[in-house]
């Protein structure tokens, strides 16, 4: 990161810096951080893409419009396929979720930019919100019938309490695995990228032999950057798909 330092610190990129203070509320210091800034940037970009993409409304879409339309129809098909017609009520939510995660992931790939989704707080908050929504929707739509999610049919009565307990733990593990996966992917990818890039700097300082040796890490860095682009898109997609799947359980617990 810092050009002045000799050794590259791969963790430095995840530091949260206060940009300006917003004052104290209830004894807690509130500040506008770089993380918050990039969340705003991501939301602003999504908004700009959809606003300007849909403003021309031409029959033959231009570049921006077709990107916006592709994004829209991609998520629309996803929601429609997993949740069906009644699930379209959740389309705005899942679209926002996907767009937010996708844009923050991609923004993090730009050098010197902060990766919002590499913070467990962010992914955890998203996952907890999703699972709370699943619980609320499940009870609102099915009443007590939602609890049949934890009672697989065909289990002998003696084993039922045991199996139900396991099912409940497996349900509670969902938000944890959801948030851990996104967080882990982004964190690990960025650290690996930074470590390999650090090798280049370290080797280049050794003179002519080091320059030749630095070719290896340089190629790796390029390759990992490409991989990270794939991971960024893929994890946003997986996040959205799993949200759909969990919501499906809320709508139809007995399946």
């Amino acid at each position: 990161m810092a050009a002045a330092e000799d050794r590259v610190d791969p963790i430095h990129q995840f530091h949260i810096n206060d940009l300006f203070d917003l004052g104290t509320f209830g004894g807690m210091k509130f500040a506008f951080t770089n993380s918050a800034l990039f969340m705003f940037v991501a939301v602003g970009l999504v908004f700009a893409l959809l606003y300007f993409g849909s403003s021309s409304r031409s029959m033959v879409p231009g570049r921006l419009q077709s990107v916006a339309e592709e994004l829209y129809s991609f998520i629309r098909n996803l929601v429609h396929q997993t949740l069906g017609e009644e699930g379209m009520a959740f389309f705005p939510f899942i679209f926002s979720l996907f767009a937010f995660v996708l844009f923050t992931n991609f923004l993090g790939l730009i050098p010197y930019f902060f990766t919002v989704t590499s913070q467990l707080v962010i992914t955890g908050a998203l996952a907890v919100f999703i699972i709370l929504m699943v619980v609320v929707v499940g009870f609102a739509k099915n009443g007590v019938g939602f609890l049949s999610l934890f009672v697989p049919h065909g289990v002998p009565g003696a084993l039922l309490p045991f199996i139900s307990l396991i099912e409940i733990i497996s349900f509670l593990a969902r938000p944890v695995s959801l948030s851990l996966r996104l967080f882990g992917n982004m964190l690990a990818g960025h650290i690996v990228l930074k470590v390999f890039a650090g090798f280049i700097v370290g080797l280049a300082g050794l003179g002519i032999g080091g320059w030749i040796g630095a070719i290896g890490p340089l190629l790796m860095t390029v390759a990992i950057t490409a991989l990270e682009f794939l991971v960024a898109a893929l994890q946003a997609f997986v996040f959205a798909v799993l949200t759909c799947v969990y919501l499906k359980d809320a709508l139809h617990p007995h399946h």
């Binding site: 129809s73 991609f74 098909n77 996803l78 396929q81 997993t82 999610l149 934890f150 009672v151 697989p152 049919h153 065909g154 289990v155 307990l165 396991i166 099912e167 733990i169 497996s170 349900f171 509670l172 593990a173 969902r174 944890v176 695995s177 959801l178 851990l180 996966r181 882990g184 992917n185 991971v231 893929l234 997609f237 997986v238 798909v241 799993l242 759909c244 799947v245 499906k248 359980d249 617990p253 399946h255």
Partner: protein
Amino acid sequence: MAREPKLPGSADGGGPDDGELARRLERLSQKLDDEKREQAVKDAPAVDTGNAALVFRFASEFVAGVLVGGLIGWGIDWALGTKPIAMIVFLLLGFAAALTNMVRVAKAAQAGVPVGQDMPAGDEDEDA
């Protein structure tokens, strides 16, 4: 869409009769249905997630299950003062839950279901 073949009814100047029209309509709707089905298959968000996504899936499923089980046990211990017992029991239960989830993911992966469409809770009893 492919163009319709020339119809015998319309060739001799007079309009096609009702039966011919009905058949044409049927053929057309058949074709439309096929087209729609193909389109639906094409539109399916079929992302080749590859094995890397699956690996992460397993890892996070496993870690999450054990973690949640352990945390619940720890919480019960903390609340009831039964120091190590609940944590041990729930760690094992969490392990079981993690394995259940992993088996579900693996089953779905073997069946070729794309990542994410898998894991409806409590479905493995149907084919067991």
